[in-house]
Amino acid sequence: MKRVLPVLLALFIGTSAYAQTPGGSAIAPTPANAGESVPMADPTSGSNAATAGSAVPGSGSATNGNNQATSGSAGSDATGSAAAGSGAGSAAAAKGPPVKAWYDVLADKDIEEQGTFWMPKAVNQAADESDMMFYAVLALSVFFFLAIAIAVIYLTIKYRHRPGHKPEPSAAHNDVLEITWTVIPTIICVFLFWYGWHSYIRVVTPPNKAIEIDVLAQRWSWTFTHENGVTDSDLHIPAGVPVRLVMTSKDVLHSFYAPAMRVKQDVVPRRYTYAWFDATKPGTYRLTCAEYCGTSHAQMSCQKLDPVSGHCDRRAVVVVHKDLEEYERYLNDKITEQMNMAPVDLGKMLYDKKGCSSCHTVDGSARVGPSWKQPDWGKEIQIVGGSVKMDENYVRESILYPAKKARPGFPNSMPPFEGQLKDKELEGLIAYIKSLKQ
């Protein structure tokens, strides 16, 4: 017992910092309070300048054909100005990715989940009660398990067979004892059920006033559509304001699971399911798919895939902004970005955000689908049952109706994107694919 108690105490009280996900960006670590020290975050004009900064040189280079390098220089320009403003983040320039908007910097931040040995700390106001239930049942289970294990070990040692030892007669049953150990578990179960039900109703019933966000799940990405039409593959929400998700799936079952929010709800095609939460603490939290959905089930909306191991370094996240204002600033800046982006940059962003990268590479190697780097641009290519010229029309058709002219040797599993992409976005994707040819 002397050894067990400290361990138990450690399990309950001891807190542990969770191992950090290696963040995608090389931005210097920033405190949880978003607005203050993230580069370009303080003045609204600053962030606008950043979007413009990445947009202008980007558009100039769209025809250049060497997008990587141009974006890189664009990135360094913008970051340079940002660094001048905030004094941080200049390391990002050397690697050459286009500069990130402030909200994407937030999304790229390391996951900050503190908690006990058992669970990350809940940041959903409605989850406190269910967490209490977890620890209560944990204590109850540990108690019963130890009681039973100690009884088994004690009895086994005490009554073990040894020379001369004989079983002693004892009652084959005892009604009082047996009724006792029927009634006690019954009472415990009734309590557990009741409190579980009670806290469940709290977890699933949203207040009347909540921000509504549409969620579309598909293989293998999330799309969050906000009230003003902004779409993103990370979920941005304000702290301290209830958020209600209206979810549906494009293809198979998925499940929206944000562990720190203690929220999980299956997402079903052709039906709406709902989830809500009221985040208490600004930060960046994990967002995963909990219902098996095929090849990249583990990597929904992956935005940074390690080409060697296939490990996803940066998954979809929930970004909790510090307040409603900050969230609105995100909505405004994001919509501006989406309107003003150069086609190639827009295409590149969509490639990361729409989950294209789960199946298509940009380096010529095949994954689930063909690579987007197509040296055959403008030439006839093989399709199932014939051939077709690889051009803008073919790419457009293959995005909207992938099954129509499928390439041989690849599974016909891409969802049709008809009705999901604005014309501008389609143009962006085509421009990006074109920019990859050599």
């Binding site: 398990f145 020379p163 059920f193 699971y257 095609p269």
Partner: protein
Amino acid sequence: MATTDAFPESLKSLPQGPVIEPDFLHVTKGWKSWAFTLDHKRIGMMYLFGILFALLLGGSFALLLRTELWAPGKTIVGPDTYNQFFTLHGAVMVFLVIIPGIPAALGNIIMPIQLGAPDVAFPRLNLASFYLWCSGATLLVLTIPFGGLDTGWTLYTPYSLETHTAVMVATSGVFLLGFSSIFTGLNFLVTIHKFRPQGMGWFQLPLNIWAIYGTAIMQVLATPVLGITVLLLTVERFGHIGIFDPTMGGDPVLFQHFFWFYSHPAVYIMIIPGMGVVSELISTYARKPIFGYRFVAYSSLSLALLSFLVWGHHMFVSGQSRLANMVFSALTFTVGIPSAIKVFNWVATLYKGDIRLKTGMLYGLSFLLLFTIGGLTGLFLGILSVDVHLHDTYFVVAHFHYVMMGSTLVAFLGALHHWWPKFTGRMYNEPLGQMCAIGVFVGFNTTFLPQFVMGARGMPRRYWDYDPQYQVFHQISTIGAFILGISIFITVCYLMASFWTGKKAPRNPWGGSSLEWQAPTPPTLYNFEKPPIVHELYNYDDLVEVEEDRWERISDAPENQGAVPVASGGKEHH
């Protein structure tokens, strides 16, 4: 050499001495005498070898997928292959190993003898059930060359309607396996009702038979639903009739209802026979009547009935209505009560016993501890609000492995060791058996305890790639899986080796009180040389004696120093 030992009077009424008739293994020869046999023991033996083979196959998939999870990203295979590994691991283990493991293999061999019957009620149906199992198993294994299977063993729609893997082959296999299970259940129900000998009343039945009875009820009532479900899935995939396919107005969640309406009872089809076996093991090796026999017997039946009412707890976050969630949560907790009763009764059985830590008992005690963990962690998942967080995470994976593997498979291994001498006529290597039993216990806990922590921290199941924070837990788990795998592999090896190297087994090596220990070792074709004597159940005081006690008693008596007793048929181990 007459029976020189001073026998207690009551023991003399039991059959002793050499058996003249050939045993069932030698009564006829040639492959046809096995392929067309109607003998329940031979059918059971064939089942057993099939199941052990499937166990090694399913286990290999488990080790492969645990190896893949050693590091985030790709370790040995890509995501598609990984998805096939966990699907085939689940499907093989559930449909080919755990469901038929205790009832169809060991139940077939032991249950009729334990009942005091010459055979099961429908021997031909029994053989048909075995061949259906073989066909189903073949089809399931054939999914590998036909494109694999990547739906998870749950075959959830609409994914299973769209995937390009061999779903139809698998569903045909599952359909046949379902019939195999129904036939076995039906056969056992009739056998237990009609083939009890004189004096064998319902409350003289060993708890193992009560458990098999409860299981058989579920097999007969629940499995047809599985058959219909996979049939509908096949028709939907093939003919697009719009039952489950949402694009045609079907309801994918309906599939989950159908599936779990079978598969939840199936969980109890898996665990209740384990509970029956463990009641026998604990009682026999503790030399004590099982405490509260009627409570344990009734709790088997009540579990069987309640198991039909709780399927919805697999669907708490599926979009099912809150009212349904409430009702299913409440009903789920009722299952906890009979389970708790059983555990307390088993523990109480140890009190004032004379506990022999043979391999069978080590597995029995492992079961007790592992089932307790499995049951207690079930409480977390029954609580609606906590389940929302834990659903579909590694917490669930760990929980059901504690129940299905930690309990059922451990009970299966215990039962295998307990009855191995009876039906093979050979003793296995006891020290090796004890070592492997401990290896299984240690390996199992090393594998699955870390998974509870991972799950609570939010690691979803069926993930090929994961967040680096979980890596250390995955690595501990993988190491445990290998300890477990090696222990089970050695177990299978020394059991097989016992056919050639094992000592000849006596009639009643463990001093069991149920009727199978009165039968010759191995039993003759119709099990008994003369009708068995039904005596007081679980009475070890003066009716039965542990073989090694017999040796002690005989060798202690001065006039018998060096005597070779007759009943054992050979030199005894010490």
